[in-house]
Symmetry: D2
Amino acid sequence: MKSILLASCQDSRGIIHAITDAILRIEGNILDLEQHVDAQAGQFFMRAEWDGGELAAFHKRFKPVADRFHMWSAYYPARQTQRLALFASKEEHCLIDAILRVESSQLPAEVAVVISNHDTLRSVVARYGVRYELFEITNENKREQEKAILALLDTLNIDVIGLARYMRILGEDFVNAYPNRIINVHHSFLPAFQGARPYHQAYERGVKIIGATSHYVTEKLDEGPIIEQAVQRVGHKYEVEDLVEIGKEIERQVFYFALKKHLERKIIVFDNRTIIFH
Amino acid sequence: MKSILLASCQDSRGIIHAITDAILRIEGNILDLEQHVDAQAGQFFMRAEWDGGELAAFHKRFKPVADRFHMWSAYYPARQTQRLALFASKEEHCLIDAILRVESSQLPAEVAVVISNHDTLRSVVARYGVRYELFEITNENKREQEKAILALLDTLNIDVIGLARYMRILGEDFVNAYPNRIINVHHSFLPAFQGARPYHQAYERGVKIIGATSHYVTEKLDEGPIIEQAVQRVGHKYEVEDLVEIGKEIERQVFYFALKKHLERKIIVFDNRTIIFH
Amino acid sequence: MKSILLASCQDSRGIIHAITDAILRIEGNILDLEQHVDAQAGQFFMRAEWDGGELAAFHKRFKPVADRFHMWSAYYPARQTQRLALFASKEEHCLIDAILRVESSQLPAEVAVVISNHDTLRSVVARYGVRYELFEITNENKREQEKAILALLDTLNIDVIGLARYMRILGEDFVNAYPNRIINVHHSFLPAFQGARPYHQAYERGVKIIGATSHYVTEKLDEGPIIEQAVQRVGHKYEVEDLVEIGKEIERQVFYFALKKHLERKIIVFDNRTIIFH
Amino acid sequence: MKSILLASCQDSRGIIHAITDAILRIEGNILDLEQHVDAQAGQFFMRAEWDGGELAAFHKRFKPVADRFHMWSAYYPARQTQRLALFASKEEHCLIDAILRVESSQLPAEVAVVISNHDTLRSVVARYGVRYELFEITNENKREQEKAILALLDTLNIDVIGLARYMRILGEDFVNAYPNRIINVHHSFLPAFQGARPYHQAYERGVKIIGATSHYVTEKLDEGPIIEQAVQRVGHKYEVEDLVEIGKEIERQVFYFALKKHLERKIIVFDNRTIIFH
């Protein structure tokens, strides 16, 4: 059995030694370990993957270490299939890409449900045998509907939420229910072109490269910790529709990367930035 | 003898036919022609390169065509060595890169002078046998000094100005003296992180990609027509100094590209955007 | 109505002028024209797209020009939906990617049929309502089966064939029936790692970048004119399976690019190399 | 004082724990640690960087650990300036790039000498105040001359050799004198286009991407462990000279990367492949 540990705390001497001691005592053999100290913040970050031993036994050995260093930590079985809820509106490119990658085992997850504020994508989702739930949202019923969605997600034991071009801003209560577990894809190279219609803005400005950004959702719109960014070169012949088309490729790419890294337990969030382990 | 034509006008039928007629009549053989119409603006853009014929003869044949279509146009001998003035402050990376590329004939230009507001780089420039002129600039003497620089540039028959990380904003009169002939390199992926200290901003925001931008200088700071942008992937271990270091590579790259395209007569500016021919 | 012309011939003066004359006479307005001369071969290449006029009328005007310059040429309505046959074996990534891009109109084609030497992908193709034909192939029946496939393609009026990781080498007669109309994707950065199991070879050699190549199929295996290549950075932690996984992304990308450029009539083949218009 | 350790051995439980114990006992604080096991080979690889403690003291604590695990290891002060010898022939691009990067402290080294088999670059090297030694080499005197070079390098306490487009194949004795310390740059994307004139081969084949490779020199030409590869997109308009020109940029890039990673003690060679730490 393989296990994964993520850990972070204020830096001091002996942390790796103490953690690897706990792993050694349960007869775990470390296969991959990555650690570094952020010199500016004086903060320690580490991810380890090991083979052998039980997590229950590890917990017992590791608890005193975590306490001693006032550590934030999380540990998991390595090959756990997580339960994913995908939110979408009318555009399918990120949604179907994620569903197909789950199907082909590129993402270690199962898609428990697709939630949408429109009925547009019901039939296209049906092809893949994935459950589709419509929650129509108006400014009036938003609070109530999000509560209903939360209740459903709770029933479904959702681990992580992917906003696959979901065009509704989530309320504070919703966001706080899944801290660092809601992944959004923004259709620009943040912080350039925040807000709506970024491809129009990019066209107007005559940029030579466009991009997309995946990030964790926080209360502040478009300002959550960035997980991944990618770009594509564009030229003077490209019209807005071309930028939109190319943008879809980049959006898919950063969305997939973010889901993958999250599901593989390779992200720590610290001070509104992400540490992404290799 | 090879020649180059750049042309732009409101689109209508028969423009290429009329231009190629003028080239044919002087017995020119077209080696490369690129044309397109910007559908949204209804604007025609073209670049042609041909072999044979004299520009004086071409002028005679072409003039009526240009008049008939109310065309903006410019034509040149293809292998003309242009005279370049490079402006710098204290950082040498873009400056020396450009000097070396001129020396190795990667840029079809000669560096007539380096102008700086500091004496810092005098000795490093001396290695390459390039003239170095110091114009110390304060808020008080700026107008006057820029006049003096303009006078010098005039004497030196400067064709194009490259701001190789010149840390002074040029005055309106100066900018207007060389429209679409002053190339600046901005140390961010515009329009993200305008203004000063973009790498600090990028670090704070936790971006995963940083960039640089070369553009023509206009009266509005950081808003001139973009010529080139390039990017580099960065990670969570990178401190501000690392971003600065990597940024230098990207700055060099976009500065070189912009100088090259400009010197090869491959840029048309239209509506604050650039058309960059291949 | 928009039309497209591809043309190539030995270079001489006046060719563009003569072609644009033909377009002007049918009252066509050129929207995009790209031309260049390969200096080494002395060969002229051009693509033009124009609005207005009828192709029948164009034919009449253009014929004498083509004759005069001994030109290879082809012209088409611009927005013609071409009929595509996709060949696959057991892997679906390129196949489904192409089907989805046709469905979303990113590729101007309709998938008339999927042809496979295995039944593996029948159900996954069925989702998209695309016809699936099984032609089991052994060394003994290959010639016969390929004849049968050719007969079917003929019935279906196939314009272009995409080999979406089809693991059978096509016979000479088959290849000659669709010259420069069969597109293959090879799972390496040709000419490195020709033949089978390129990802194993890449792993053994310890390369830092892997790639894929799309090309037109000719009689010589893996040596047809290259249309597109793309690469991805890999590292020392990547095992063969990781290379295969990443390779799939690159294969999809080069296959899509090749189909798109071909369908948009942006490729001329000359001397076993491709001219790809922008 | 900061120190760096590189270590590799057959994998077993407890290795990291034992190493970090040694570091802890000399009161070192680990700032960066990267470890992984190559599952296929069952081989353990690690790099650690720590602050505090003396290397002499570390040696005493670490020696039993290294012995116990039959470990290959090396450790160094982190900010040691290494002595670099650059070999060149007639082309200056890689050579001058490396000299400038040393000068600007991008490479933690000093260039002790430039060795060349031609006098061509003497004056250009003189600009930078670097010693230049000519060793003319014929097939007859090669063995002897290489001996003389080795003697000089020995006198100069050379740590690492960079072949900056040195167009002579080094003899076996020479190569064996600096195992995994001679870095070459090959002007192709190995293993494509081995041997001479790779850009001509690339042109003939009509590839869409060209590349360059830096690697450690071994007895087998062009087959040493690859350190870095990079590529650039090219098109049908590019003639051989354009490929050569673009190739120079890529060559510089992979040469710089290899020197940097080597000087930063971030490379382990195992089984003719390189482990490159981040």
